[in-house]
Amino acid sequence: MRVVIAEDQALLREGIVALLSEHDIEVVAQVEDGPGLVRVIGGHKPDVAIVDVRLPPTFTDEGIRAAIEARERHPDVGILILSQYVEPAYTAELMAGGQGGIGYLLKERVGDVPGFLDALKRVAGGGTALDREVVAELVQTREAEPGDSALAVLSPREREVLELVAEGRTNAAIARSLVVTVGAVEKHIASIFGKLDVPGGDDDHRRVLAVLAFLRAGDG
């Protein structure tokens, strides 16, 4: 797997580089700002870019804007956003194109090495990896007015499954978390696809579309 990193904090950037090289993941470029990110994504065509939200020169949402710009030109490159805060609106913007390969994690999740590597691989493979806090915030909002939500058609159990799908968990992991069989999870997911009118096709892509429906519901 080939990775580029856009992170202005040297300590964190070097830590991630060391971590990835220990696991035979090649970091092909490191940049410190938004324009640099757009450039190296174009130049190296990596599998995935790890992007900090706050980057020079503006130190606001530079990373998000640069990632969106880069994705427009190179839709196959996965984007894993690292942020110190949860902002569901940013996730929704990143996924507005209807493509997978998007992740949004709080920075401290890097400390959970297997979890972080797993998320990175999923995003590189076109899946999603939303931080559980992003998901929790969206769910908290939606549960208070289920009648207005696109997710109102789902049963409570199906919604739970969809939340875990949004976090990027596999069916086996979801089954473990909910203490049910993998078969039951598969049935729930098929039902979610049906209720949300997710068109048929590749299962991974259908999962992305279902997550997108989930994000859109959260976006009011």
Binding site: E22, Q84, Y85, G111, Q140
Partner: protein
């Protein structure tokens, strides 16, 4: 404040009109009575004329003072009062002079005296202002200075808070993230051979994560990231999306207000929405932000039952202090059945 004063002023004028009318009526009746008595007692010298003259003077005094009191407060009003009294007294004197058989024209000297006094009053007053202009100028300067420094102090405070937030982000939070990552790598290496030690590292990492979470909440309390990143309309949109009720946001700003104003407006909307969620019974709410004539208005209206009462020491009262410290105004309208509207107006020149 101002409408009340106007109301009192208006009532005062109405009362005064009333006094003048009653006085005039009473005077007319008296003169009529005296004339009747004079007629019944067989005429002679027309003494009721003196009664009429006296009453007319009193009426004239009241009317003149009333006119004088309507002049601009300050020197103009003082001069008007003096002039009005002088004219009434002079009229009395001329009357006396005429009534006593047109002797030496002494009222002329009185008139001259009153005029000199009036002129002296004016000269002294103007001269005093000329000699002591610094007093008024000083006060004006002081008010301007206080207004400016207060805003300045609040601007500095807001900028300082955002700097702290940035320092937290780039400093403590970043180092904790790095620490958390180092702990995670150590945990991973130990995982196979020394699971107990790995579990220790895991707990240390969880602790670091908890601290990072607390710092995150602290930073959000200073200014939500989306407000700092994208400004008030975007932050209010995000706020509305997070609320568990339907919230419409109408915010159209040509430019970004000062950080201190932006933050105050944001927290007014946030607190008002919290209240709308709590007391609005799930009814929709509307956030309207508007800028006109150097004032930024933020209004949050819910379609709930209304009838909210100000809670001393509550969130809304805290916001009132914050808004008023910025030279803004803050109001809550909550008639039963008409929903609740919280409005804050802030300077944003």
């Amino acid at each position: 404040m101002r409408p009340d004063q106007a109301a009192i002023g208006w009532a005062g004028r109405a009362d005064w009109d009333d006094v003048v009318v009653r006085q005039a009526t009473a005077s007319a009746l008296l003169v009529f009575g005296c004339t009747t008595i004079w007629g019944l007692t067989g005429g002679g010298v027309f003494w009721p004329g003196w009664v009429a003259f006296g009453l007319a003077l009193a009426l004239g005094l009241v009317a003149a003072l009333r006119w004088a009191w309507e002049q601009t407060p300050g020197l103009t009003r003082r001069l008007a009062v003096q002039g009005a009294v002088s004219i009434v007294v002079l009229t009395l004197e001329v009357g006396l002079w005429m009534g006593t058989g047109f002797g030496t024209p002494w009222p002329f000297w009185s008139a001259l005296g009153y005029s000199v006094l009036l002129l002296a009053h004016w000269l002294v007053a103007v001269g005093w202002f000329r000699l002591h202009p610094e007093r008024e100028q000083k006060l004006t300067r002081r008010v301007e200075e206080l207004t400016r420094t207060r805003r300045g102090a609040l601007d500095v405070e807001a900028a300082e808070l955002r700097r702290i937030e940035r320092d937290l982000h780039d400093g403590a939070q970043a180092r904790l993230v790095a620490l958390s990552m180092q702990l995670g790598r150590a945990e991973e290496r130990l995982g196979g051979d020394q699971p107990e030690l790995a579990a220790e590292f895991r707990r240390a990492r969880d602790e670091a994560s908890a601290v990072i979470g607390e710092l995150r909440d602290l930073a959000r309390g200073i200014a939500p990231p989306v407000l700092a990143d994208r400004g008030l309309p975007a932050a209010l949109e995000a706020l509305g999306r997070r609320a568990p009720i339907t919230v419409t946001v109408t915010a159209d700003l040509d430019r970004r207000p000062a950080a201190v104003i932006e933050t105050a407006a944001y927290f007014v909307a946030a607190e008002a929405l919290t209240n709308a969620v709590k007391h609005g019974g799930g009814a929709p709410a509307h956030v309207i932000v508007d800028e006109a004539g150097g004032r930024l208005t933020v209004a949050v209206r819910d379609e709930g039952p209304g009838g909210a009462e100000a809670d001393p020491g509550g969130g809304l009262e805290g916001l009132r202090a914050r808004v008023e410290a910025l030279d803004g105004t803050f109001s809550v309208a909550s008639a039963p059945g008409a929903g609740t509207t919280v409005t804050a107006e802030l300077p944003c020149a």
